[in-house]
């Protein structure tokens, strides 16, 4: 018990929790935007990977950090547009296309990395984003360093949640996005182009996913490793359900998840070898499944999620 309290009172624990949560915030927001518009994006895992690789690669080739971020977002949106072209434009299976995008994006990332750097054995590093302390706020005990002494990308994640929530609930564009996810025929009857809105949402959502990947290589690990995404994308899909498709709850879910993950790492260190380390590594995945089980009964899916819309089909 004492160990648990020690962990919870350590500043490093809270800092780590927010750091782990950041890519999940981006990924969950991205998936949420796609699904609100009615498109399941199982390309997320691959888009994370390609975002991580391309952002890192751009910086490694001499670009600035923000230039790298832009490259990652652009590449992510590109894969998002492919996904949208198939699922929105052609109306083929969202499940299968998504898996296809994940296979394509991750193999493209690996292929590019191997082709550009054929001979490296240990992954080369870049100078990552440095934490920025926000004056005054970062002096608050525990919360201060956790929330206000982070890298720019973490702050961007917080801002993204607010902007996404505002757009979804307060603007005509957000209404259009929600409408095409609830009843595309209703939106079309009001003169809204379902194809355009869905395509746009998937592209923007995929851009967010790539940002999540870019955070991994440009803010957390400073290098690109194979398999480094390790299911984060799939966890984000579970988090979207857990968050009932609401941005604020997505933030909460990602943070809870980050806290749990940071906690299990520390618990593992203090318990030592009594329990195989793999058990701890399994916990995040099992927790995601548990979260799905807990909310599945009351999950209120966007009505048109996974329903392709073809204009004038009869």
């Amino acid at each position: 018990m004492g160990e648990v309290i020690d962990i919870l009172l350590a500043v490093s624990f809270w800092v780590a929790a927010v750091r782990i949560a950041t890519p999940l915030i981006f990924g969950t927001l991205g998936e949420l935007i796609c699904e609100r518009a009615g498109v399941l994006n199982l390309g997320i895992e691959g888009i994370f990977t390609v975002g991580a690789m391309s952002g890192w690669m751009a910086v490694y080739q001499g670009m600035g950090l923000w230039g790298g971020v832009l490259v990652a977002v652009g590449v992510g949106m590109g894969f998002g547009l492919i996904h949208a072209g198939f699922t929105v434009g052609l109306g083929v299976s969202q499940h299968v296309t998504g898996i296809g995008i994940t296979l394509l994006a991750s193999s493209a990332a690996y292929f590019t990395y191997r082709t550009v750097l054929p001979d490296v054995t240990s992954p080369p590093r870049i100078e990552p984003f440095e934490p920025i302390a926000i004056p005054l706020l970062s002096d608050i005990p525990l919360i201060g360093p956790a929330l206000f002494h982070q890298t720019a990308l973490t702050y961007l994640a917080f801002v993204s949640v607010i902007v996404t929530a505002w757009v979804l609930y307060r603007t005509p564009l957000g209404l259009a996005v929600r409408a095409v996810g609830e009843n595309p025929a209703a939106a079309e009857a009001q003169g809204i182009s379902v194809v355009a809105v869905r395509t746009g949402a998937v592209a923007v959502g995929s851009g967010f996913m790539a940002l999540g990947g870019a955070f991994l290589t440009m803010s957390a690990f400073n290098a690109f490793f194979f398999e480094m995404v390790g299911g984060r994308g799939w966890i984000c899909i579970a988090l979207v359900v857990f968050a009932s498709w609401q941005p604020a709850k997505a933030l909460l879910g990602a943070f809870l998840f980050g806290a749990f993950d940071a906690f299990q790492v520390r618990l593992q260190q203090s318990i030592g070898a009594a329990i195989p380390y793999q058990v701890f590594l399994m916990l995040p995945y099992l927790l995601s499944i548990l979260a799905l089980i807990l909310v599945s009964r009351r999950a209120a899916y966007p009505r048109a999620l996974m329903v392709p819309y073809r204009k004038g089909e009869r």
């Binding site: 299976s93 296309t97 690996y110 195989p276 599945s296």
Partner: protein, 349 residues
């Protein structure tokens, strides 16, 4: 642009669709090849040669095709009933672990006892792993896509725990590798001095049996009805939950058999790199085959040829072997378009 359903896609179109998808995917592979700086004509020729150019290449391709046929069948069975099993990778490892547990000690001297019991155990392990998300779906309404995906990671960690723990080979000097299976459990070679093994026979028999099951039996009728229209199936008196469980046992079992076949036919033990994504590639195999069990055999051989050909070309010309994964992913996407063209007439208005 608008789509009009075709009356019924002719037989020609059913073959032309995947064939053209594959051709387009191979042509698109020219982009990464050019990026890698490989001369295109030589590269394609090397790929073809490496996959089909000699008896040895052919046996390598068929060896690779064996697990792909089984995971492709696993996906076919599941997708026919719209059970979105994306967890064949994990189920393959479950089957492989079970095979090692059963066959690492010579408790019988007869391969006729050892091999079947290993297969039954492997299939059962794969089935159990898929039953968890299936029951969560039918009982609690939990979406199986995410749970099957996440269980792949859990299973891989479990394998890691086993091969560094209770199942670790004492002779491996700390390397994460399981004990080997005994000789009585090893699947016989089909062609002397190659890796091609009797797993291929198992896979072919499984394809024929699954095809009969789907098209000729009442259980297949139920699976197809539930997959195509669950509401109508329920109305007609079918038990959706039971059909899903039955499907999960078949699908998980087939994926588990893929693990057994790899352990007993190729490796002899389990490591963490037993499968280079056979479970995920199974989805591509099944989609290329348009969810036809017999078609899976053909499309698995094609995908295997891509892997083997790209591998050998890559070694010869210094192109990353991830090219194979790229081609496989591309063929899945091009097949989706080809499938659409086969079902609909596209009108430009």
């Amino acid at each position: 642009m608008r789509l009009e359903p075709r009356e019924s896609p002719g037989l020609g179109l059913r073959f032309a669709a995947p064939a053209s998808a594959i051709v387009v995917a191979l042509l698109l592979a020219a982009i990464p090849l050019a990026f890698a700086g490989a001369p295109l004509a030589t590269a394609y020729a090397a790929m073809f040669d490496g996959a089909l150019g000699s008896v040895f290449a052919l046996t390598e391709t068929l060896t690779r095709a064996t697990p792909l046929i089984l995971t492709g069948l696993a996906v076919t069975a599941a997708f026919r009933a719209k059970l979105w099993n994306i967890g064949a990778e994990g189920q393959l490892y479950a089957g492989a672990l079970a095979a090692v547990v059963i066959a690492s000690h010579a408790w019988s001297s007869s391969p006729f006892v050892m091999i079947p019991s290993m297969m039954v155990a492997g299939a059962a392990a794969g089935a159990v792993l898929l039953l968890i998300p299936t029951l969560l779906k039918t009982r609690l309404g939990v979406d199986e896509v995410v749970t099957t995906l996440l269980l792949n990671f859990v299973m891989l960690l479990f394998v890691s725990m086993m091969v560094e723990g209770p199942l670790q080979d004492p002779m491996s000097m700390g390397w994460p590798q399981s004990e080997p299976i005994v000789d009585e459990a090893v699947l016989p070679e089909l062609v002397p001095r190659t890796r091609l093994h009797a797993g291929l026979i198992i896979a072919l028999v499984a394809a024929v049996l699954l095809s009969l099951l789907i098209n000729r039996t009442r259980w297949g009728l139920e699976m197809r009805a539930v997959g195509a229209n669950a509401d109508a199936a329920r109305f007609a008196g079918m038990k959706i939950g039971r059909v899903m469980v039955f499907t999960a046992i078949i699908s998980g079992g087939l994926a588990g058999l893929a693990g057994v076949s790899e352990v007993a036919g190729v490796r002899g033990y389990v490591t963490l790199d037993l499968s280079p994504g056979y479970g995920y590639a199974g989805i591509v195999v099944a989609m290329l085959a348009q969810l036809s069990a017999l078609g899976v055999v053909v499309s698995a051989i094609f995908i295997a040829a891509v892997f083997v050909g790209a591998d050998s070309m890559g070694r010869a010309m210094g192109v990353s072997s991830y090219l194979a994964d790229l081609i496989v992913a591309l063929s899945l996407l091009t097949m989706l378009v080809a499938g659409l063209v086969a079902r609909y007439r596209i009108r430009w208005a």
